[in-house]
């Protein structure tokens, strides 16, 4: 096993374990904390895959914003008593079966996947010469300008939606 493969083996094991921890903890705060560790691992994996910008975004947006949002909600809901009851639904064996079967199917298809030799122009060297930020920025603001603007509208809608939903009813 080469060094990169060893690295990957660590990440894969850690991330699978962390994922299982996230979905099995009874206390949602614990889940969120494990999720945080998982996100840091994912960011590491992104670095490994030459995506520095996304790694940064992963930490800032997911860990910094979304998870904090979850924590806020948990705090607001004050779910102490929830911890005393069963954490799984009645249908959990079915869910587990589905999950396992899906994993087997996906692995059996995707495990054999290979890359065609016809490669794009963003080789590691090309990205390195400009830097990951600049490369992604150029693509985002030229080729994907319209989707980018649409994304901003999606966020705006989310803001308005959240405000409307969360505010007190005015009788």
């Amino acid at each position: 096993m080469t060094l990169p493969q060893l690295f990957f083996a660590y990440f894969a094991t850690a991330m699978t374990t962390l994922s299982l921890l996230v979905v099995t903890r009874k206390n949602p705060v614990h889940s969120v904390m494990w999720m945080l560790v998982l996100f840091i691992h994912i960011a590491g994996l992104y670095l490994f895959l030459n995506a520095e910008f996304l790694a940064a975004i992963q930490i800032i947006v997911y860990a910094g914003a979304i998870l904090v949002l979850f924590l806020f909600v948990i705090m607001m809901l004050n779910l102490r008593k929830e911890e005393t009851v069963k954490k799984y639904q009645a249908q959990w064996p079915l869910g587990a079966g589905i999950g396992i079967i899906l994993a087997v199917f996906l692995v059996s298809i995707l495990g054999k996947i290979t890359v065609l030799p016809a490669l794009g122009k963003y080789s590691i060297e090309a990205i390195k010469s400009e830097g990951s930020m600049m490369t992604i920025g150029k693509v985002l603001y030229t080729e994907y300008l319209l989707p980018f603007e649409v994304a901003s509208i999606v966020l705006l809608v989310a803001i308005i939606g959240a405000v409307v939903l969360a505010k007190k009813r005015i009788e």
Binding site: S19, V32, A51, I57, F70, V115, A166
Partner: protein
Amino acid sequence: MVPLSWYIVLSAVMFSIGVFGFLARRNLLIIFISIELMLNSVNISLVAFSHYLQSMRGQILVFFVITVAAAEAAIGLAILIAYYKNNPTIKVDEINLLKG
């Protein structure tokens, strides 16, 4: 060198774990977290493809997925809170208003 398929298998396994969490848990918050988990697993595969195909498209897509995930989390949690105000439970098997 790490083969591409390893990343994809990792992504598939994480996704299945997310599916399991989504289907099995009672706590709505954990279900939301499972959704985030599934989105992240897909992101991993996208970044891996992007790297191995030397194309920027995958990363751009991840960027948009994160955007949508943020919006979804915000709206979803807002709905959760709004619901909780009316009916103080977040146990998903006690929420059956869809039943006619």
